[in-house]
């Protein structure tokens, strides 16, 4: 480990905190419609959609900022943007 008396930061998931709290709308996957094309994983700007074994996908709501890109690019329209209720 580098030991040094000046500003350094180390890799961390959630460096800006739980960014899921920023969300105004929430993407919800309709797994019945999902064809496992993975476009949402590829395009999610925040990298907050996980690719799972068997090509399934899962949104990490702890960090998803609710931008809506996934819903916009989904060819099956299998993702709905739902108003966040807090």
């Amino acid at each position: 480990m580098i030991d040094y008396p000046i500003p350094i930061g180390r890799p961390r998931v959630g460096s800006a905190g739980l960014t899921g709290e920023w969300r105004l709308t929430r993407p919800v996957i309709n797994y019945d419609k999902c064809t496992k094309c993975r476009l949402c994983v590829i395009y999610c700007p925040e990298n907050s959609i996980d690719l799972l074994e068997g090509f399934d996908v899962r949104i990490d709501y702890d960090y998803c900022k609710g931008c809506g890109v996934c819903a916009q690019i989904c060819p099956q329209k299998a993702i709905d943007m739902v108003t966040e209720v807090k």
Partner: protein, 385 residues
């Protein structure tokens, strides 16, 4: 006592610094040409071309990039060196603070020179003093020997774990850069032992850190306080390094300050840089006349030597010669000395001279001090004629 060894040579200041750099074996250099530093850059390029120095010389497009390039190399593990002067130092300005804040060991030589406008290629200390708040250690050479010795010591001080601050070695443009003087050089092996290969690296792929990210207000203040402490601790390291260097070179070596005939002196000059020699000549002449005159030479202006409080005991008046000026305030060293000696009762007078290469001779020092001895008082005097 005259002694000649195979290590006694004659060299110009720029070449002496280049030689010291060669002996400390930096791996990456980046220097942009500027008068009067250029002959140093040329000499370094020649050493590399001839294979005497195995280093990368990055020939950048400006001084800002010169310091940036060595910063990048220093972070990833290189011992590095750069050099500049005047406008170039100002152009580097942003990176000077950057490097100081990041506390990366870097050594830079600064051939001190006046700042435009109007254009001047001649010597004063204005450029150097603009960087006094950038958390660099700042040393100032009196002669070519000093410039050589300080450059070698600078690497050791900079890399000391108690310090970890960049070091600037100031030496007067032309007056030292282009003047050839007698110089005692060290053997390569001795320098290598004195400044061993450096262990410093912030680029480690198994521990990928973020170097110099945003700091929140609380953290920022803490880091600045740490830098303040390191700067204070560096005084001790500078003294220790000088002591070790004296053992190596067999010559006396002062640390933070040099005290020239000031032990029993009532009247004392305070200077930094090459004209300290001319002031010494004045002291020597005045001593012959039986006057109790001495000189305090600051070898280091940052950190400002705390030791100055000890050596002024018994002194009644100090005349500070400033070769730079804080407009709207006064001579910078004079102001700083007054602050350090607050409450001591010592009278401190300020002389501004030698700006833009304006000539200052031993007789100028003598004249001013004779006035002071005869009771003349002044806050600030400009030597214009």
């Amino acid at each position: 006592m005259i002694s000649v060894t195979r290590n006694t040579v004659a060299m110009e200041g720029n070449h002496a610094v280049a030689y010291a750099v060669k002996q400390t074996k930096p791996q990456v250099l980046s220097v942009f040409p500027i008068t009067p530093q250029t002959t140093m850059l040329e000499k370094l390029a020649e050493y590399i071309e001839r294979g005497e120095l195995k280093a990368e010389l990055i020939k950048v497009e400006g001084e800002h990039s010169a310091l940036a390039a060595v910063y990048g190399a220093a972070i990833s593990g290189s011992r590095v060196f750069t050099a500049t002067s005047s406008q170039g130092l100002l152009y580097m300005g942003e990176m000077i603070y950057w490097v100081g804040g990041e506390r990366v060991p870097i050594v830079s030589a600064v051939a001190t020179r006046a700042i435009a406008e109007p254009w001047s290629i001649w010597d004063d200390h204005q450029d150097f003093f603009t960087k006094r708040d950038s958390s660099w250690i700042m040393m100032m050479a009196e002669n070519v020997q000093d410039a050589y010795d300080m450059t070698i010591q600078a690497f050791k001080i900079s890399e000391d774990k108690k310090v970890l601050l960049p070091v600037m070695v100031g030496f007067d443009g032309f007056i030292l850069t282009h003047t050839m003087e007698r110089l005692e050089i060290l053997d390569d092996e001795d320098v290598e032992r004195f400044v061993p290969p450096r262990e410093f690296n912030l680029v480690d792929f198994s521990d990928p850190i973020n170097v110099g990210p945003l700091a929140q207000p609380d953290d920022y203040m803490k880091f600045k306080r740490d830098a303040m402490i390191a700067m204070r601790q560096s005084e001790e390291v500078i003294e220790r390094t000088a002591h070790e260097y004296a053992n190596l070179s067999g010559r006396d070596q002062d640390g933070m300050i040099e005290c020239f005939n000031c032990n029993d002196a009532e009247y004392v000059f305070l200077t930094a840089g090459a004209w300290s020699g001319d002031a010494k000549e004045a002291v020597r002449r005045m001593r012959k006349e039986g006057k109790k005159v001495g000189l305090i030479k600051l070898r280091v202006i940052r950190p400002f030597p705390e030791k100055v409080r000890e050596v002024v005991r018994g002194v009644s008046k100090i005349v500070v010669f400033d070769r730079e000026y804080s407009f709207g305030f006064g001579g910078i060293l004079a102001g700083e000395l007054k602050s350090k000696l607050y409450g001591s009762g010592i009278e401190i007078m300020s002389v501004i001279a030698g700006l833009g290469g304006k000539d200052v001779r031993p007789t100028h020092f003598q004249k001013v001090m004779n006035d002071v001895i005869s009771g003349e008082k002044f806050q600030e005097r400009w030597l214009n004629d």
